[in-house]
Structures are given as C-alpha cells and as structure tokens.
C-alpha cells in the first residue's frame, strides 16, 4: 500500500507522532498492569497503582509539587474546571488574561450562576518581556472582592508568555488564588509552582508531555489546603468508602471514578522522554524551527505573519491575501501538510489579534519536526499561493 508523506504541523492541538516509549508504555500497561489502581489488593491492581504513583511523582518533579498534590483528570479542560470551580468563591471576582482559551473563559463565565463575575487584563504587553505593562494592567483590573487570577502560561495562538513569577508575587501579596493553564508550556518551560506562587497548574498529557489523549492533571501548591478545594465530581475513590462525601485528602478527593491508567502510563513515559531530551532544549529547538519558518514565509508577499518580531513557543499564526484560513488549510492538507485554521477555541486572542471575524492559520511544531518539514510546508504554501 502506498502511504503519503504527512508533515504534521498541528502540535499545539496535540503532539504527533508520539515517542515509541509512550506507545510501548500504553501497550504494556494494557497487557500486564491493567488492574484498577487503588481499588484492590491483588498484584495487578497494585502494579497499576505503582504506575499511577510513579507518574504523579514524575509530573510533580517537573513543576516543583508534591506527588500527592497532582490530581489526574480526563484532560486540561477538566483540570481547569476543577481548579476554577473548586477554588473560586461565590460573590467574588476573577481576573483572566485577554488571550485565554475557552477552557478558561467558559468555566469562569459560568461562575455567574454563583454571582461571581470576571474582568480581563492585558498579558500581551507593548513588546515581548513587558512585565511592568502586564502587571499594571492586572493591578487595574483588580477589585475589592477579587479572589482569583487565571492565566495561560503560553497562548495557543500568539507568541505570548505570561510572566508567572511576577504575577504570582502580586497574587501572594494580595492573597489571591493563582491558577495557571500550562497546556502550551508544560514540557517546554520548567515552572516551579511554589517559586511562582501558583495555587493550581493545569495541563494535558497529550501536548508537551507527548503522552496519549484522554488524560490531564491539576497540580496544587502548598498554599491550598486539601479540604479548601470543593469537589465538582463525586464517586468511588477506593478510600473512606463508608463516608457519603469524598475523602479529605488529595489527590483522591478530586479523582472520583477510575483514572485513565493506560493514558497515565503513557504520560509517565512522555515525562521520561521530556526529561531525557530536556524541556529547555525542546523549547529552543521549536523556537529555531519557527524562526526558520518565519524566514521562509517572509518571501511571500501575500502572507501576513502575526507578531513576527516575537519569539515564543513553537507556534506561528498567519493568513494569506485572497484565501480564507479554511481554504489554505484544506489546500495544504491535499499536499500532506496538517495545519489548523479557525479561531483555535480562543476567541479572546483572535480579538486581540483583530482576526476574530476571519480566523487565521496556525502552524505548530514539536520535537519531532525538522527543517525539511518546514521547507516542505513553505514549498507547499508557495504552490497554493500561486494558484491565484
């Protein structure tokens, strides 16, 4: 059978391909350690529980948390819902950045049912590294009843990174809960949740951790007490079973029902892959690829790259004169190039970028992409542009 060569440049949606070790770990888990972790005392269940604990410890060590303060969820959106709805109080006010993904905007917006509203602050700044401007905007958005700040560490559309340490310091001084969406940064940027004053950091397995889809986590800082987090799901936890409420201790308090053990086994292997490669090394490589991509695209008069002067993460957002984003993505797909068009579930960032009405095309790289992938993408784009 003939197989077409695919150049996958949609890694901000999910990284692909996955490391061989991740695929093996998932298979081995399903073959040999397929018990329900933390439920039974037999060897297959205990083996599964050991895998789950090892994954907690590996993820915890990547963000300066304690293993038992890493709660596994079904994805990053679930983790953010858990952190936001578990920590934000009724009749309060939340501040979120002006480029948040719907995984933050929608749960925060839903808090209106408990009389909690929200405001936006500018995390883009006048230029890359404009921490003072970002902090000034955040301070001006705070109110007397503000209880929490929620921010994405890195945008999924724009080359923007939030100054976590500075925001965390301000939150600490003001006694605010600080929730971070690390979906686009975990595995690329080393973040210490205690040093940054983070109350909860949320991320999926399937992006920078190179794990499978179907899992994510929320890592809680020491400033948050276990019982302070309200549960949003209740059910079996394998402990305190005669009680009608969830256990008081993390992480079981937040893990109602069976956790996705095969995905967790894959995430453990993904964490080991990232550790071997080095998060900062992966980040540097992805930036270099994007810089090269910008250089190649700068030769096309019809192409507009957004925020070309900034360098942050493995994403590049662009449009081309005379084409809708969907037309471009479809034409590139016919040539084996996978990119994503539309609003990327982030209408706020497209509003900032003045692309809310038309959307844009995003190309995003991973550790598995190469310079020749970028060349193939640029050549294909050139061919598509020449059609009109």
């Amino acid at each position: 059978m003939m197989t077409r060569r695919i150049i996958y440049l949609d890694n901000a949606a999910t990284t692909f391909p996955k490391p061989e070790g991740v695929i093996r770990a998932v298979e081995e888990c399903m073959r040999y350690r397929g018990g329900n972790p933390g439920r039974s005392s037999h060897s297959v269940s205990v083996a599964a529980a050991q895998t789950v604990y090892s994954a907690r410890a590996a993820i915890a060590s990547m963000c300066g948390a304690e293993p038992e303060r890493v709660a596994f969820t079904l994805n990053a959106t679930y983790a953010l819902n858990l952190a936001i709805k578990g920590l934000v109080r009724p009749y309060s006010h939340v501040v979120i950045s002006n480029i948040e993904h719907n995984s933050v905007l929608r749960p925060v917006s839903s808090l209106s049912s408990m009389k909690t509203d929200y405001s936006l602050f500018d995390v883009v700044g006048k230029a890359q590294g404009d921490t003072e401007g970002v902090l000034a905007s955040l301070k001006s958005a705070l109110r007397g009843n503000t209880g929490a700040v929620v921010v994405c560490h890195r945008s999924n559309t724009l080359p923007v990174e939030a100054p976590l340490e500075a925001i965390g310091e301000l939150c600490r001084k003001k006694g605010l809960t600080f929730i971070v969406d690390a979906s686009q940064s975990f595995g690329c940027v080393e973040t210490d949740i205690e040093k940054c004053g983070i109350s909860a950091l949320c991320a999926p397995f399937h992006k920078g951790l190179y794990g499978p889809q179907g899992g994510g986590f929320a890592a809680f800082g020491k400033s948050v007490s276990d019982r302070e987090i309200r549960t949003i799901m209740q059910g079996g936890s394998g402990s305190a079973s005669s009680e009608v409420s969830m256990p008081g201790y993390l992480p079981e308090r937040l893990e109602a029902g069976t956790v996705p053990t095969p995905a967790i086994a894959g995430a453990l292997a993904g964490a080991e892959f990232v550790k071997r490669q080095g998060a900062s090394r992966i980040d540097r490589y992805e930036r270099e690829l994007v810089e090269y991509m910008k250089k190649r695209l700068s030769r096309f008069d019809k192409v507009k790259v957004y925020f070309p002067e900034r360098s942050c993460g493995g994403i590049l957002l662009f449009n081309a004169e005379g084409f809708s984003g969907e037309e471009l993505a479809a034409a590139l797909d016919k040539r084996g190039i996978c990119v994503r068009s539309g609003l990327h579930c982030s209408p706020l960032s497209h509003r900032v970028n003045n692309t809310l009405s038309c959307g844009a095309v995003r190309a995003s790289v991973s550790a598995f992409n190469s310079y020749s992938d970028v060349d193939a993408f640029a050549d294909s784009l050139s061919a598509v542009l020449s059609l009109r």
């Binding site: 039974s40 410890a57 394998g238």
Partner: protein, 75 residues
C-alpha cells in the same frame, strides 16, 4: 518479627510512605487494610516491622505524611 501496619487512608499516601521509607532503608509493603482497621471504610497503609516504629514515626513526621496511625499486627 512482629508486623505493624501504618494506616495512610489513601493508596497515594501509602505509596509515598513506602518510597520514603525505602530511601531510609526500611522495608515496607503497601497493603489494603481491613475494613475494621480503616477509618471510614476502605483505606490503605504499609506493613512494616514493629521494631522500626519509632524511626518510621520520625521519618513520616519529617515527610509531612498527614493523618497516619500505627496499628498493631500479628506475630
């Protein structure tokens, strides 16, 4: 050897305790406690040598393992 059980309430804390004790050269196995040994029904703990009890207590206190308690086992 007399066996003692240290109740940890959750599987995660039992695993953490087992790993910390292993780093301190104390052998401990993760076990599911009987319902009558458990607070609130099912709970987890580690099985250890009773002679190590004081040392284990010091290690678990330093390691911030919350809510543990010793349960005397059988000879």
């Amino acid at each position: 050897m007399k066996k003692c059980y240290v109740s940890m309430s959750t599987m995660t804390l039992a695993q953490k305790a087992r790993n910390i004790l292993a780093l301190n050269k104390i052998k401990a196995n993760v076990v599911k406690l009987t319902v009558d040994q458990s607070y609130g029904g099912c709970s987890w703990g580690v099985e250890t040598d009773c002679d190590d009890q004081e040392k284990i207590r010091r290690i678990l206190d330093i390691s911030d393992i919350p809510g543990y308690r010793f349960i005397r086992g059988k000879e």
